[in-house]
Symmetry: C4
Subunit: 252 residues, 4 copies
């Protein structure tokens, strides 16, 4: 079966010694991570399952991730710190996500990656279980140029897993699949969220266009996609502001 990735990255802006207790993360980063959880739920990218992490701003060997819970209910008190092997720094008895190795192994293999979203968004799943490729039908999903890589867990874990990335080895295999995908310089968490949302939007549009056009669809070419991606980086805060306002206005 499948997992999609390759969406969700950025540049580490600072470097700090690893292993020791990290300095406290920037409260604005925590706030953004909480907003990212709530936005991804409000925009139907995640439901009760799925997660989003961000690399620690003071210590690139660490990352921040919620305790095991529904993203739509996350608050700042639920954010935990993990080391490069997905050990919780200060667990306080809190349950952790079984698939946290997705995050740790991607951060380990891809130093430029700053944020990771893991979801099972509904319009994307059909592209994972068929041979149809996700490709950009409009400029807001231009980052899909070249097609999204699909990870087949059966190749890495055999035909009798529980479908979860529950070991460092499976996480590393996934990170290698991601390595083949086009990785661009991004602004980090906000762009990861932007890409996760527009991947879902593009999947709906592409499926519908393929049906309407009986397989004949005009996609963005590579040059258009590269230029549109650069442009989008400058305006994505416009969507982030809207999504954040919406997501935090609801109690749940």
């Amino acid at each position: 079966m499948f997992k999609f990735f390759g969406l969700l990255l950025g540049l580490v802006m600072t470097a700090a010694p690893a292993g020791a207790q990290s300095p406290t993360a920037d409260p604005a980063l925590i706030e953004d991570l909480v907003a990212a959880n709530r936005i991804l739920y409000d925009q139907s990218v995640v439901d009760g399952f799925g997660h989003v992490s961000v690399r620690h701003d003071k210590n690139p060997e660490r990352f921040l991730l919620a305790r095991s819970m529904a993203p739509g209910l996350v608050t700042a008190a639920d954010i935990m710190e993990f080391d490069r092997d997905s050990n919780a720094i200060d667990p306080k008895g809190r349950a952790v996500y079984l698939e946290r190795f997705i995050h740790s192994e991607i951060y380990k293999a891809h130093p430029e990656v700053k944020a990771v979203v893991h979801s099972h968004s509904p319009a994307v799943i059909p592209f994972g279980v068929t041979s149809v490729t996700l490709r950009p039908v409009f400029h807001l999903s231009s980052f899909l140029a070249g097609g999204a890589p699909v990870f087949e867990i059966r190749e890495a874990g055999g035909s009798a897993t529980d479908m979860l990335i529950r070991t460092p080895e499976l996480g590393a295999a996934l990170a290698r699949t991601l390595g083949a995908a086009p990785v661009a310089l991004m602004r980090g968490l906000q762009e990861a969220v932007f890409r996760a949302i527009y991947t879902e939007v593009n999947a709906r549009l592409e499926a519908e266009a393929l049906r309407l056009g009986q397989g004949q669809v005009v996609f963005l070419n590579d040059e258009e996609a590269a230029k549109a991606t650069a442009t989008n980086a400058g305006v994505l805060v416009r969507a982030w502001d809207l999504w954040k306002t919406r997501a935090l206005a609801t109690a749940r």
Copy 2:
């Protein structure tokens, strides 16, 4: 026509003598049953019709079910107790569901079943009136491995019923159909709700994948499904917490 079942079960954890007035059910069980009604409505599994019951925790010969009303409006005061033949213990003039025999006959035939959901969820219905089988496209619907059984009321009741399971005999025929389905050990009501919701989600995903892939879709194999089902049992409370928060936050 059709009815889907096979979703909705669990282990009876206590045994008590039947027939007499039951001791009061655990208030937490009543609360969960109210939440189950509201969640199933909020998640679009039921509309004005459909119902959910739970086996009585103090008396396995009895079960709890709302009076005849829309699930989305149920409160604790609406929960009634029924005996093994679907007689209301203390009706107080309240109307009862015509199809309560679905519940009583399943509890009678399947001692391990702890909860039953009956719905007409929209994405599932098309699988009931065509020859296409519901099968799991992702790990959260792994319980569908082997395919959901379809009950044809015309075989049990002839071609001129009103489509309802309004007699013990029809209920018993339905329970026999359910008997052929894979029945696993579960935690009860919360897992029944989980399965009802992800049956609907899977139906949407499978229909879309079949279209996109023009009939070629990769499903979970039986080993993957079994392992994923075991894993899901440990994390479903995460989704329950979200659904309950959402469903009880709305007035309706």
Copy 3:
């Protein structure tokens, strides 16, 4: 082009002399008509356009209908009384619906009809512009047995109308089309709303089932449909209560 009808009726329970100023309608009927407007909007059967009327309970030559406005905003003060030719009894300068002749001509031609819904509900429209027939896929839409009649305005008004039933003659032609449809005894306004909503639901389900089953779908047979329709009449208040609670809880 098309118009769907045949859904939306009932028995006149009293008879009164026509022509004179009617006694005041039952406030409960006005309240139900307001609720019907709001429910049809809340359930996405009407948008800014569409209307619902009810025959006057004290004078069967008259009917009640909102002034020209979006159904979702209707309050009791917006309800007007019309005579058998669609003249407003006490207009007070209020604008009236151009298509009110749909209502007056149906009431005139069908004395047993007690309520009329006119909508352009989204899943139904594709059945109006193609040769596919609406038929019941489950018991809640059993009233569709025999298929919904389609009115072709080009046959009655030529190929250059503005598509509206804006004259008594077009209304009468429409009422004749309705006359061929199966008309059963119903409870009136609440059942008209029930049928309008489940016509939309059935249209979604049927379109999806036809796709999934590649044209092979099992529909209710006529006996099943007749029995289910009789049963539904006894339980529709359950859905009405839910819809009314929802629709009146929102400000718009």
Copy 4:
């Protein structure tokens, strides 16, 4: 790739000398423009991106447009004035939309145009990337008679743009494409919003009807469309009132 236009127009009702500082726009026009932004978001025609402008009521050489932000969050304080070349009159450091040339070049080339909506509404996009034409399936989208023109940016800007109308030249090419579309006399901003919304509705209905009817669909003919369009102009305020009430009732 594509851009849709041709929807979004009206009559300039006054003429005033251009170039100098304009008299203050009518506060009711500003209020309508704010409502238009919020309505287009609430009705899912725009998301975080897209924009709507109106020609200045006191100076036809100028137009009003929000600063660069999500339409769903726009308030009166966000409305800016632009000249015929898309220069902001009083920017106060506010960011402006990259694609404001869509607006200025259409106003320049089409003196009768009074309002412009630019969106990427989801059901419409598949018609832009396939060879299927948008045509009216019901009277509310009658303005689509003749088919909506599709602008191919590759013809005007080559195959390596970032897909945006970011120069006056691209805007002018777009305005020429619009010139071939049927342009009718309208009431301005409210009708532009009406058309943007019913273009999206029609796209959903047409795609579904084409599937259901396997390509055989009855569309409005040109006479029906012309008459329906004239009728709609008289009733669109009914929908506007509903949309405005809804859109302004939500905080976001």
